[in-house]
Amino acid sequence: MKFKKFLAVALTAAMALSMAACGSTGDSGSASTSDSTAAGDTATSDSSSGGDDKIVVWTLAKDLEQFADHYKEKTGKEVETVVIEPADYPTKVQTALMGGESEPDVIVGEPQMLQDFYDNGFFEDLDQFGAQDYADQVVDYVWKVGQDADGVQRAISYQITPAGIYYRRDIAKKVFGTDDPEEIGKLFKDYNTILQTAQTLKDAGYRIFASDGEMNYFSGDSAWVVDNKLNVDQSRYDYMDLAVKLYQDDYTAYASQWSTPWYQAMSGPIPILSQDIQSGSDDSVNVWDSENFEEQTKDLPKTEVFAYGLPSWGVLTLRDNVKDTSGSWGVCAGPSYGFGGGTFIGISSQSKKKEAAWDFIKFCTLDEDTADWWIEKSEGDVVSLKSVLEKHKDDENPVYGNEKLYAFWLQQAEGIDYSKVTKYDKVIGDAWGEAISSIKTGASDKDTAINNFYDTVASTYPDIEIQR
């Protein structure tokens, strides 16, 4: 009986609630009131009110919310931002836009998603709004990433993400007698030199990297696909040899990127794990479960790690993790140019407020004052406007021994050749990485691994010509 009463009450409540939810369905005018009254009105959110010329931004980066607030402050125009989890962002945008959704006016993308978005026609042509007038003001590679296969401008980014090598100045002084970024850069100028550097560091009791994946962003200075043919350049094999050597000759601390010891190595000595521990075949230490990490590793020898390879956003990652070693870091160039990540903003092709959306994009990406404000606000993000980078070129960063980082990043970004980037990079790169890890752990020999790699590429992209 009690249950029945409960059920009756609950059903009534359910109906009332769903009525309230119903209300907000079609006509948004009267509905929003009934919705919020029934809901007990917790959020008369700033974005639910506002005029009709309000534009809607679907983003995967929280940054844009701050941009939107700043935009409102400056221009008084409303922008509603909807933040969606990065991993699910493509699903959301694809489903919605293919379903004919016209709500988002501004959509964004990361480099690896952009090609698909272009191919599906999600981004509006920005050239019709005069985007090309700004071509010279933005760092070249970022401008190119925003273009589709026909060279039409579809998206623009407010930031650049060139990769660099972050190293410990104090260790550099002890081992190499100098901490000058120019000089240290020479120690990383090609893969063979890196191996020598690694040996020198090992002899001195240090490890060059925490993981063997640090050179990933510099992993090959050539395009994966040229004229529809798979192109495995010599530099790819060199990188493969480097990664295998780093692993097999004990040059790293066998920490996986983003695992506990990888972070710990930023602030001081860490235990040297073994190959077996990293691969999981020795389960006496679990690197992902920091639970008993200290206890389990107390008998292992300790070492300090010399360098990390990360894109420019690594500046912030290190800043938050270096603790006592703050100030004794430096940044230098790697063996090749590379970049990772970045948020690109464009107009949805189904938007009904394209002019307003273009105004917002211009404000975020092409406005010097905004870029200035963003450098201040983000505490170290690297913007894409050349003039602003120029202006901040003498800014010194105390965490990195007062190095002038903006000048450095600009220089690195100018070296990136975007023609070497293809839409196949993610899949082919992952397959290559797979081959490398099966060789380094001895799971298969080089020929088998490379053959498997060809098979993977052939089955994923049947159209690509492959010469084995």
Partner: protein, 282 residues
């Protein structure tokens, strides 16, 4: 000696048993405890080391969380979706199950088989089509597409049909009919109470499923103030610096688990209470 022998063995047995049970309990509680503790630590602390000692960042995490969204609003949204969906599922599935189990009509078999077949099709397959349908019906950005489909839940019907056959005696219904009860009356007053434990079990499952449902709300809802809890929590991953939000994520998850615990407590008492009682005396 003889008198002591048995109690000693008994005590030893009990001790072993209790040690095992305590270990098991600890194993089960550990992740929850860890979640609670991590909710009080900063992102940097979480990725550097592990500890059962609470940190000092609860306030900071909460501010971080509030900076992103109003978690209580998200919770309310989740309740608005999960409660009606659960009751629709429970009520209509029980009704369908009862019908399929006890009424003889021509297409009974056919309907049951087609329900079985629909159980096999994953909903994600038709995502784009579903979105298009919702656009045409002007239901994007509303909770209706999340609630209404709950009426038809093949899995629950299947379970409850088998359950109804095993717990509801035909003789009870015949008795009711002789006394002049209408069919709906029989269902509401006799069958539903009998099926209560099964329905409650399915309701728990359904509530948890709806509470944790992520894909559909993520696709259907386009307004931040309408996002349900899981969709909101994942937006914490959208920060430039992933690590800094770890503490806030733990805190958000910890807060979001509370309603599930409450619902489970309510219904589990129902289940245990009802299993003991029966209706027909043999």
């Amino acid at each position: 000696m003889k008198r002591q022998g048995k109690p000693v063995g008994f005590v030893v047995n009990k001790t072993i048993l209790y040690i095992l049970l305590i270990l098991l309990a600890a194993l089960c509680i550990m992740p929850f405890l860890l979640m609670m503790v991590n909710a009080t630590r900063s992102g940097v602390e979480i990725s550097h080391s592990f500890s059962f000692v609470p940190g000092k960042s609860l306030g900071a995490n909460y501010r971080q969380l509030s900076d992103y969204f109003n978690i209580y609003r998200g919770m309310l949204n989740s309740v608005i979706v999960a409660l009606p969906a659960t009751f629709l599922t429970a009520y209509f599935s029980a009704m369908t199950a009862y019908g399929l189990a006890f009424y003889k009509f021509k297409t009974n078999k056919l309907i049951f088989v087609s329900i079985l077949i629909f159980m096999m099709i994953p909903g994600q397959l038709s995502l784009i089509g579903f979105y298009q349908l919702c656009t045409k019906l002007h239901m994007v950005n509303s909770y209706l597409p999340l609630i209404l489909p709950a009426i038809a839940s093949p899995g629950t019907v299947y379970f409850l049909r088998q359950y109804a056959i095993s717990v509801v005696p035909r003789s009870l219904m015949e008795a009711a009919r002789l006394d002049g009860a209408s069919e709906l009356y029989i269902f509401h007053r006799i069958v539903l109470p009998l099926m209560q434990p099964g329905v409650a079990t399915m309701a728990i499952m359904c509530f948890i499923g709806n509470w944790n449902n992520y894909l559909l709300p993520m696709i259907i809802l386009n307004k931040k103030e309408k996002f349900t809890l899981p969709v909101l929590i994942t937006t914490l991953n959208a920060a430039t610096d992933l690590q800094s939000n770890q503490g806030a994520i733990y805190l958000a998850v910890a807060i979001s688990v509370i309603p599930i615990l409450i619902v489970f407590c309510i219904f589990s008492r129902q289940i245990i209470g009802s299993i003991a009682s029966g209706a027909v005396k043999e």
